[in-house]
Symmetry: C2
Subunit: 203 residues, 2 copies
Amino acid sequence: MKKIQVVVAEDQAMVLGALAALLETEPDIAVCARAANGREALTAVGKNKPDVLVTDIEMPEMTGLTLAAEVRDRYPQTRVVILTTFARPGYLRRALDAGAKGYLLKDRPSAELADAVRRVQRGLRVVDPDLALEAWDSGPDPLTERERQILWRAGEGKSSGEIADELHLSEGTVRNYLSEAISKLGASNRVEAARLARAKGWL
Amino acid sequence: MKKIQVVVAEDQAMVLGALAALLETEPDIAVCARAANGREALTAVGKNKPDVLVTDIEMPEMTGLTLAAEVRDRYPQTRVVILTTFARPGYLRRALDAGAKGYLLKDRPSAELADAVRRVQRGLRVVDPDLALEAWDSGPDPLTERERQILWRAGEGKSSGEIADELHLSEGTVRNYLSEAISKLGASNRVEAARLARAKGWL
DNA sequence: CTGCCCTCATGACAAACGTCACCTCCATTT
DNA sequence: AAATGGAGGTGACGTTTGTCATGAGGGCAG
């Protein structure tokens, strides 16, 4: 019997090695390559044509969400499983839009990883049920692209003036967008708004 | 030859399982217990009297730093290795104060974990060299306790008034403390100050 | 005992922030 | 052709922030 070929992508080297070790303990799974960022992962998928790519979301070079979309377009025979810390509805939605077949949280038992890989390889979908539910009733991302850009920078501690310069807008406009975002999110100032948006995965 | 007995503590179940799998691949190391939080870890150490405890810092119930101090006081035969994402000088300092023998970053190669466990078990110290250097020249925590409390809440998006109510202070006083903290950290507003302090592990 | 630092406070002022009404321009939808 | 809605803008207004000077009390080391 041929083993399921898997590529693992994760930016924390220690966790990457550990996840690989975990998958290698399964008799029917083989880790054929490891990647420390999105770009490496894409190359590795191209070279190895694995059955499954297991990837983190937050990585340098290329985010796991972008990676998933690239893999879907260029190597459709490889199914993607997103493995992430973040139970953010926005992330799940974007992951599924990007063609990911699985979405698994890092705080699930480690046995579920191998299971998810097997299920996805068989063509099934694997999505954390709690998260799927939350994604449903938390509604879609209410922010426009501009609001997102601006709110992000505000969350970094930048002033309205700095943000305006950076995005070639007037300061008043920046304040307007922030005001809109604050009211959409039910926050009482920019900092709280940024926190809420981050928690939902909208930022 | 008797294997090195290790307890692993980590709040993300998937990562916990993976780290255990990683250590189990070493012929001279045995994982005798796993813990999902600080309290569990303390119990497990009491029961198993392992040679080494490998623990994350940010965990529910009891932080890895508190845990390290408890283990030093109650089970001194067990050496503690901190394994964390955060290259924060403040964390390193507090970890060493708490009697940790090792401080390892999750973005180091996975091979280093087993090495660190072996070294620490032999009575050596293992500290990430880059981080140790940074901890040295980044100086000690400049914030007072009050400044920390206030800056923390400001970073959560609370207004000066809210913080004042919470801590039973006048609003002016809160603004004074924030102003102090902002200038100490060389920031230009409360949000940036909170970000910087967090990055240093002072919050 | 005398600095020195932390805590907490007040008052005042300029700058930044949040809100609102109201405007143009432009692309998409109906 | 009209309606919608996003993007960008202006001006005005009140509130919040950040700064500074200044002071009162308390603890603690030299």
